[in-house]
């Protein structure tokens, strides 16, 4: 049996088990409601879930602009200048060790329990890893490319447009991948903790009244959101790498395939 078929079989049987085990009563419905009752619960409250999804997506979108925009910018600056890099990078990676969740109560005190505190929290949550991965990626730009461009008399703007930006695209994309995934986590987590709207809030509210099918409908919705995000990113990655191979031959292929440390690639 080939690996792919076995994998499909595993996924398929997991879905069957999800439906079967609660139905036969091997797992209480309270712990794991069957797939069909989850979907029905979600469908019956479609309006409520749709509204929550809109709130969550809005928060995710705004935070992503902050986290990825600023993170990629800061990472590019810090990564390309040697002095700040040596000074700041170890400090940033130490900060990365702090469990940022503990900052969320601070933000709720400052900004209230509306969307603002979620956006602030998720932006900070996504910022540091995006910055770290961008700074690490910028350093992988082959210095010989820059040297060649300079020795052939390229101006600064030419070097920027023809060398640095194309070479930095895989880095920016991997920064976007790390930051985007974390922003989604940040928004959902903060909604689960203290909030009055959004999918995380729905999950928490139905959890307190022990309505498992509705909890799992929310969980499924978040899963769908992350899967859609990574699929969209993979599509962009493919587009970008085709354009890149056209520009710089096989070298680019190598780099775009290389998974950066610590991030989901599938």
């Amino acid at each position: 049996m080939s690996a792919t078929t076995l994998r499909r079989l595993i996924v398929f049987s997991l879905i069957i088990l999800w439906e079967g085990l609660p139905r036969t009563g091997l797992i209480p419905e309270l712990f794991l409601p069957s797939l069909s009752s989850t979907l029905i619960a979600g469908w019956n409250e479609a309006g409520e879930y749709g509204h929550a999804l809109a709130v969550t997506l809005y928060e995710v979108a705004v935070s992503m602009v902050f986290a990825c925009g600023l993170g990629i910018l800061a990472g590019a600056v810090v990564g390309s200048l040697p002095r700040p890099r040596v000074l700041i990078m170890p400090m940033v990676s130490s900060l990365y060790a702090v469990p940022l969740v503990i900052l969320y109560p601070v933000f709720t005190v400052w900004l209230g329990i509306g969307s603002e505190s979620k956006i602030a929290f998720a932006s900070i949550y996504g910022f540091l890893p995006t910055m770290l991965s961008t700074a690490a990626g910028i350093q992988t730009i082959d210095p010989q490319l820059l040297l060649a461009a300079r020795s052939m008399g390229a101006t600064l703007s030419q070097r920027l447009v023809r060398v640095i930006i194309p070479a930095a695209i895989p880095t920016v994309l991997s920064g976007l991948r790390v930051g985007g995934a974390l922003v989604i986590v940040g928004v959902v987590v903060s909604e689960m903790l203290i909030s009055s709207a959004g999918i995380g809030y729905l999950i928490s509210r139905y959890r307190t009244i022990l309505d498992s099918p509705h909890v799992f409908a929310g969980v499924l919705l978040v899963l769908a959101m992350t899967v859609a995000f990574s699929a969209a990113l993979r599509w962009i990655e493919q587009k970008a790498s085709i354009w890149q191979t056209g520009m710089r031959g096989g070298l680019a292929e190598n780099r775009s395939v290389r998974p950066a440390a610590l991030q989901p690639t599938a």
Binding site: A3, T4, L6, R7, I10, V11, L30, F31, L32, V86, L87, P90, M91, S94, L95, Y96, A97, V98, P99, L100, V101, I102, L103, Y104, P105, V106, T108, V109, W110, A181, I184, V185, V188, V189, M192, L193, I194, G200, I203, S204, R207, L210, S212, V215, G218, V219, V222, L223, T226, S230, L262, P264, T265, A266
Partner: protein, 251 residues
């Protein structure tokens, strides 16, 4: 770490500057002192908190949860990761599934742990375990893959026993990556346990922080944030220090 004395001084200066900025913003009233109590007040509060028996108790609860989850997740994850890396077929089957499991936000499954285990020690440990194990598996896989095939071939052709290969080839080449894995999984683990405590709990330091936030006790809240940050950073630096020692030994 590394770096010269000047760099270290510059880093200390940055940290001091942050605290000074915090102090002046609050003292001069640019920011409402009730929203941002001054750094000195918060640090004084930190000292006072450490004297309280209830806070120390919470810290012990959190530490035991974190350590239990860590002790359970790391060996199990390492074994699974090792098996995945050593068996090509198993790897092809399991890797995409693991990558997917790694990429989804774990926090949405927290309600499930509460439904199954109830609010308590087991739920915190279970969630900490769950949020740590995937990263351990993935890092171990990376660590095994960092063993050079040539080294293995040389060892085998000189007739090394399994134990010799394990201790002389695998362990030295894997150690830097494994230490890094240990460091990062501790970050994930601590975050998971703190989140579980903040979400629904009766004790633990995360619960304490959430309560302070809800009651607008900013001094206590900021003191707690500083305390957890210092503990997390100290652990991180300790492992990194060992890491640099080991990579030195490898080359």
């Amino acid at each position: 770490m590394g770096g010269t004395l000047g760099l270290k001084l510059a880093r200390v200066a940055v940290v001091v500057a942050v605290f000074l900025l915090w102090e002046t913003l609050s003292r001069t009233g640019v920011v409402n002192p009730r929203l941002l109590p001054s750094a000195s007040d918060s640090l004084a509060m930190l000292g006072e908190l450490l004297q309280r028996a209830s806070v120390r108790n919470d810290l012990i609860v959190t530490a035991s949860e974190v350590l239990t989850a860590f002790v359970l997740a790391v060996p199990l994850g390492a074994i699974i990761g090792f098996m995945i890396a050593e068996n090509r077929y198993f790897a092809e089957v399991a890797k995409p599934l693991l990558f997917f499991a790694f990429s989804i936000p774990k926090s949405i499954f927290l309600p499930m742990f509460i439904l199954v285990f109830g609010v308590g020690f087991a739920e915190k440990v279970g969630y900490g375990f769950f949020s740590t194990i995937f990263i351990v598996i993935m890092s171990t896989t990376a660590a095994v893959e960092s063993v050079k095939v040539e080294h293995l071939t040389v060892a085998r052709s000189y007739g090394a026993t399994t134990a010799q290969t394990a201790f002389r080839v695998y362990l030295p080449s894997m150690l830097p990556v494994l230490l890094e894995a240990l460091r990062i999984s501790m970050i994930f683990n601590l975050t998971g346990v703190m989140l579980a405590e903040m979400y629904a709990s009766r004790d633990g330091f995360g619960h304490q922080i959430a309560t302070w936030g809800e009651n607008f006790q900013m001094k206590q809240l900021l003191a707690g944030v500083v305390m957890i940050s210092v503990i997390a950073i100290a652990f991180n630096e300790l492992i990194r220090w060992i890491e640099t020692r080991c990579s030195h030994w490898r080359t």
